[in-house]
């Protein structure tokens, strides 16, 4: 029996010839990422719970302060200081305020064929480069840091065939939200989504990140694309080499298969409070909004900033809307500056912020108050996700978010 890409990565990391779904293996982790959401707890456990505190290989570790940066209160500052001091003491690569963790990882670390643990659920983003990235908690992260290893239950793989090409004005985010609406919030629990087919060839690495990033919203352990010439080009431009380039075998085993025709995808939105409550965007047009957010590890890259800027150019943000624009990294921010996008956003009345997780995770600048409504390119729309428990979050594409910011109510770009 052949193996899928995910199975081949696990086999490589486990040092065995073959693995199959359902097996449990001990794997050598290629890399581990931890952010300020949990690292203060990891550091406390390191000092207080371990009989023999040590780090297997500091070069495998990356610490990134991105969730609440810069700190907004003394307790947050203390937790981040604990993380910063630990990183410096142990010579761990440390990033602060330079970007959302997954964007930093994609720009500077992730290589095809690697098995990466991240103490953040959206670590599945790394599949865009043919790596196996998966989210874990801080205890798993600590175990990996100390031993360089972890245990992995080999997941089943779902094949997602992509055909056709996205129509004009429709984006990878519309595609992924449509997929989430189709298979449901529990539709890929503990499984891998493998994206393939001719449609995949029409998607850039940035586009693939949008798809892989949200795979955790259907419960997936990770999502993955083959590291094809598009991925290898991205890698080469950044001076990195693949760890290993794997293709799924023709006789690999898949638990399920789906086909999504990109040419049939339309703008969609996810309604509060569940990511799989996905409807055509037209169905929620007219909903009054208080805030609009363009950013996040899902949708804060240069592609989305270009889309948003093109829509607000020469227009004004509605006077009852706060429009937050948050580039996913400083690299993205600088590119946007160079292209004049930041000026365009500011002239429209948007609030341009430093790279961070922002309102997407509901504990940073920009949180919304009682009964307020947000339209967002963030990752989630759970109850209270962006602030007060009574507030509401709709998810849509960068185009829908920017158009809604101008109109003051949810609308698609063609309605302006």
């Amino acid at each position: 029996m052949g193996m899928t890409i995910a199975e081949k990565i696990i086999a490589r990391a486990a040092g065995v010839d073959t693995v199959k779904a359902g097996d449990i293996h001990t794997v050598n982790l290629d890399r581990m990422m931890s952010n300020d959401g949990t690292t203060h707890l990891t550091v406390d456990m390191y000092h207080n719970k371990l009989n023999h505190p040590h780090i297997a290989d500091t070069k495998k570790m990356v610490f990134i302060v991105d969730h609440n940066v810069p700190a907004d209160n003394p307790k947050t500052a203390a937790s981040q200081k604990k993380m910063r001091d630990f990183a410096r003491e142990h010579n761990i690569d440390f990033w602060e305020g330079k970007g959302v963790c997954h964007q930093i990882m994609m720009e500077h670390y992730v290589c095809p064929g690697e098995l990466i643990f991240g103490a953040d659920s959206h670590t599945c983003t790394y599949g865009a480069l043919g790596a196996f990235g998966t989210g874990v908690g801080c205890t798993d992260l600590l175990y990996g840091m100390v031993t360089g290893t972890s245990w992995v239950l080999v997941p089943e793989t779902i094949k997602c065939n992509l055909t056709g090409r996205l129509p004009e004005g429709v984006y990878p985010r519309d595609l992924m939200l449509t997929i989430i609406g189709t298979i449901g919030a529990n539709g890929a629990n503990y499984q891998v989504m493998e994206f393939c087919g001719e449609g995949a060839k029409t998607l850039s690495v940035n586009d693939r990140m949008v798809l892989c990033n949200l795979s955790v919203e259907v419960g997936a352990k990770t999502a993955i694309f083959e590291a094809d010439e598009i991925a290898l080009e991205y890698l080469k431009a950044r001076g990195r080499e693949p760890k290993a380039v794997f293709r799924s075998d023709a006789d690999a085993s898949y638990v399920k298969e789906y086909t999504f025709d990109l040419s049939e995808i339309q703008p969609v939105a996810a309604k509060p409070d569940f990511v799989d409550a996905v409807v055509p965007a037209k169905e929620v047009c007219g909903v009054h909004i208080d805030e609009a957010f363009l950013g996040s590890c899902n949708n804060g890259r240069i592609d989305e900033l270009r889309v948003g800027a093109a829509i607000v150019k020469g227009r004004k943000v509605s006077d009852h809307v706060r429009f937050l624009v948050v580039p996913a990294s400083q690299e993205v921010y600088l590119q946007a500056l160079e292209e004049g996008l930041i000026a365009t956003f500011m002239e429209s009345g948007a609030i341009v912020m430093n790279p961070n997780c922002s309102v997407c995770w509901g504990s940073c600048q920009g949180v919304i108050g009682e009964n307020e409504v947000l339209i967002s390119t963030g990752t989630r729309n759970f109850k209270g996700r962006a602030g007060h428990p009574s507030s509401k979050v709709y998810l849509g594409s960068a185009a829908t978010v920017a158009a809604s910011a101008v109109k003051g109510e949810i609308c698609t770009a063609d309605m302006l």
């Binding site: 707890l41 981040q80 600590l142 629990n189 569940f274």
Partner: protein, 160 residues
């Protein structure tokens, strides 16, 4: 295991509801635990007693990987979480910190918030309302981590 009261929650219960983002960077779990389930039942931290149970539906613990979610439940004395199915990160985190997470297909629909139940991990059964429900056994590997008191306790044992 002893009898405890059930606190019942809905399908696709996400970890933001168990502990909201705004509390995650507090210094420790003790400071966080008083905010458990704040969005759904602000009285939960004062009502829950050591030995009580949290019962969910499908996909319990979906969303964020925040380990603070199972940690605040454990710190409040929750004996185990029983659900029809669990999201994988919450499931793994719970075992890693020594909080039993039990898959039971029938019990969640048969019980109400406030009912009493008891659970026997060794027998793999739960009892409520005079009925006995069978639970899915944990894979041996995870059972071992749980019985040793969590992953870090296992690690300390390995490295002893």
């Amino acid at each position: 295991m002893s009898s405890g009261k059930i606190f019942k929650f809905h399908n696709d219960l996400d970890t933001d509801q168990i502990i909201a983002s705004q509390y995650l960077l507090l210094p420790n779990i003790e400071e966080m635990k008083v905010h458990a389930f704040e969005s759904l039942n602000p009285e939960f931290p004062s009502q829950v007693k050591p030995g009580d149970y949290v019962v969910g539906g499908e996909n319990f613990g979906c969303g964020s990987s925040r380990e603070q979610a199972p940690s605040v439940l454990k710190a409040l004395g929750v004996q185990a979480v029983i659900a029809k199915s669990f999201a994988r990160i919450f499931y793994r985190n719970s075992i890693n910190i020594g909080l039993p997470v039990i898959v039971c297909k029938e019990l969640p629909d048969a019980v109400q918030d406030g009912d009493e139940m008891e659970l026997s991990l060794t027998e793999g059964v739960a009892r409520a309302g005079g009925k006995t429900y069978s639970c899915t056994k944990l894979p041996e590997y995870m059972q071992k981590i749980l019985s040793e008191g969590g992953l870090i306790a296992s690690l300390n044992k390995e490295e002893a």
